[in-house]
């Protein structure tokens, strides 16, 4: 809860070189991410495109490519859930998305992290919620459990 990042790990039954291409070739990235990009990813440059995810085709994709360390690290910054068409998000601090690749016997271990959510304005978060009504009750339970665990070791 007090944590401002998302972390995922997934094992892929494909060689590191294959996964690297799927991540960093802009056409391949677009296939699975569902975005049509205008051109290749270049570190330090802005990547433009359009979301192709059904129902969200009106949304633009804008990200700044940060690092491309072959077969190891690919990262970019962006504004997650920038869902209002006419709103300018450029003044907000973006989040950082990092893909790290590791070779494992069965193929590739992919570690994904997205960090920097503490900088996202609260009203923006609310916008995103309006799109999605998740199970509040369960989420509150999770928070309670989490807080309860933390507090037992703090002793205020």
């Amino acid at each position: 809860m007090a944590n401002d990042r998302i972390e995922k790990r997934i094992e892929l039954k494909a060689p590191v070189s294959r996964v690297w291409r799927a991540l960093t070739d802009y056409r391949e990235f677009g296939e699975w991410f569902r975005v049509k990009l205008d051109g290749p990813f270049v570190p330090g440059e802005v990547s433009h495109g359009h979301i192709t995810y059904p129902g969200y085709e009106h949304l633009k994709w804008v990200a700044v490519v940060r690092k491309m360390e072959p077969e190891r690290l690919f990262s970019f910054t962006w504004h997650p859930y920038a869902i209002e068409q006419n709103k300018d998000y450029s003044n907000e601090t973006p989040t950082l998305v990092e893909f790290r690749l590791e070779k494992i016997p069965t193929g590739t271990l992919l570690l994904l992290s997205e960090s920097g959510f503490d900088k996202i304005p609260a009203d923006r978060r609310l916008e995103a919620f309006r799109m999605n009504d998740g199970g509040w009750t369960q989420q509150m339970k999770n928070i309670e459990n989490h807080v309860a665990q933390k507090s037992s070791s703090q002793g205020v």
Binding site: M1, A2, N3, D4, I6, K8, I10, L12, K13, A14, R18, V19, A22, L23, E28, E31, W32, F33, R34, P80, Y81, T108, L110, L112, E114, F117, D118, K119, I120, P121, A122, D123, R124, R125, L126, A128, F129, M131, N132, G134, W136, Q139, M140, N142, I143, E144, V147, A148, K150, S151, Q154, G155, V156
Partner: protein
């Protein structure tokens, strides 16, 4: 929660998202944990059994109050603090939403590279 606070939060939104920052401190997290059980507490009650001074507890409560996680009401000479789950719910839901989006994207990536 006072009507004024509710109004401010819902209509204008907070300028930034300090909820994460407010919870990034173990003392405040522990205070929230205690208050989140539902019962309101006075500063004296919160100070009791803590190794922190009344002043320190007050300072931490003010920070939590500033982001709307707790609200205080005067009761005689004491301020009583009460937990408000809303900002934490909002924050947790936001992360869950982005997290779910990544799960779906990574599953599509998996299908894509394994085919």
């Amino acid at each position: 929660m006072s009507p004024r606070n509710r109004h401010r939060r819902e209509s204008e939104g907070r300028a930034s998202a300090p909820v994460f920052a407010a919870l990034g401190d173990p003392t405040r997290l522990a205070l929230v944990a205690r208050l989140s059980r539902g019962q309101p507490y006075s500063i004296s009650q919160l100070t009791e059994g803590s190794w922190l001074t009344r002043q320190a507890i007050t300072k931490h409560l003010r920070i939590l109050e500033g982001v709307g996680i707790v609200h205080s009401v005067r009761a005689g000479r004491e301020s009583i603090y009460k937990f408000d789950p809303q900002p934490i719910k909002e924050l947790k839901q936001y992360l869950d939403l982005v997290s779910k989006q990544w799960d779906e994207a990574l599953n599509r990536l998996k299908a894509f590279v394994e085919s």
